[in-house]
Assembly symmetry: C2
């Protein structure tokens, strides 16, 4: 029985969302896994934007509940960090004790991206820890994002793939996704 | 038996982290709840930054496992969205079926903040949905952040408090936190 994986990521927001989601679905099938993809269910008719949001949240949680594992696209989205919905979903599936995998299409790690956010302005505090000009700690552990995300994956025996997509293709490049799919397929058996 | 709440948020990164965490801990006790706070356990000695990150991840997951509920501070952090570690933690506790509560110290909702990110440049697509100049969808549902976060809280019977902290006090103001504490204390009994 092939294992199913929830495909978390910000692709649902792209102008060519359907095309990219369908590509990820096809690649997942090719890897011998069953794709569980947000955006695959019809959204119910609701009376307000608020109710629509709540309904989509319930649908996506239902999809996660049905999946055996997760592959989270943690590529930075509108800033230096991963899409917050994807982060919620990674935590959700981790709490269920299911195998978790993650990837990013941006090579610079969380510490590097945060220093870039401050245009390279940072300093080492008395304890030797890096801080931005706002004195807020720069988490600099070599992780692709906050330690709860990278740590949650690795501590469950999952893996993190770091890609290096061409500029402009950070949200659509499939190189790192193909690599994590191969790893997940091997691990999930 | 008073209920315990995991206090998720980016306060651990602040220059006065201990002071602010201790304040949140004290306010939680005053509200009749038992605080479970990241940063409360000694970090183990490890051989590398990577191992340290994994150890902190395990400790924080352990703390979440021990808590009865969560209060997540979703105030935007270094950009237009919530701290990604906090988002992971909210998803984690939601998956455990525990009551979830959230607050933000910034009044502008997710749609407003995203339009500000693009300096107000956006357009309505053929379906009437707002998109940025990069053609990426602007989720505009009146939520404080991505629908999975706000929806996950509301769909579990939790509440979301929207504060309006003075500029510069977004990460330290306790007004919204006090309000959500009162709500959580009443709901958790």
């Amino acid at each position: 029985m092939p294992k199913s994986v929830y495909l978390a990521g910000p692709e649902v927001f792209l102008p060519n969302a359907r095309e990219i989601l369908d590509l990820k679905i096809a690649l997942t099938r090719e890897a011998g896994l069953v794709p569980v993809s947000p955006g695959d269910l019809e959204h119910p008719k609701t009376d307000s934007k608020f109710e629509l949001g709540l309904a989509i949240s319930r649908i996506d949680e239902h999809l996660m509940n049905s999946a055996d594992a997760i592959i989270a696209n943690l590529t930075p989205f509108r800033g230096i960090a991963a899409d917050t919905g994807t982060c919620f979903e990674l935590g959700y599936v981790c709490a269920q004790g299911k195998p978790a995998f993650a990837y990013t299409n941006v090579k610079a790690d969380h510490g590097e991206r945060t220093r870039s956010h401050f245009n390279g302005e940072w300093y080492a505090d008395a304890a030797g820890l890096p801080r931005g000009p706002d004195h807020i700690l720069i988490e600099d552990l070599g992780f692709i994002d906050n330690l709860m995300l990278h740590g949650g994956v690795v501590n469950r025996g999952g893996e993190v793939v770091v890609g290096d997509a061409p500029v402009g293709a950070e949200l659509t490049d499939m190189t790192a996704f193909r690599r994590i799919l191969a790893i997940a397929a091997a691990k999930l058996g």
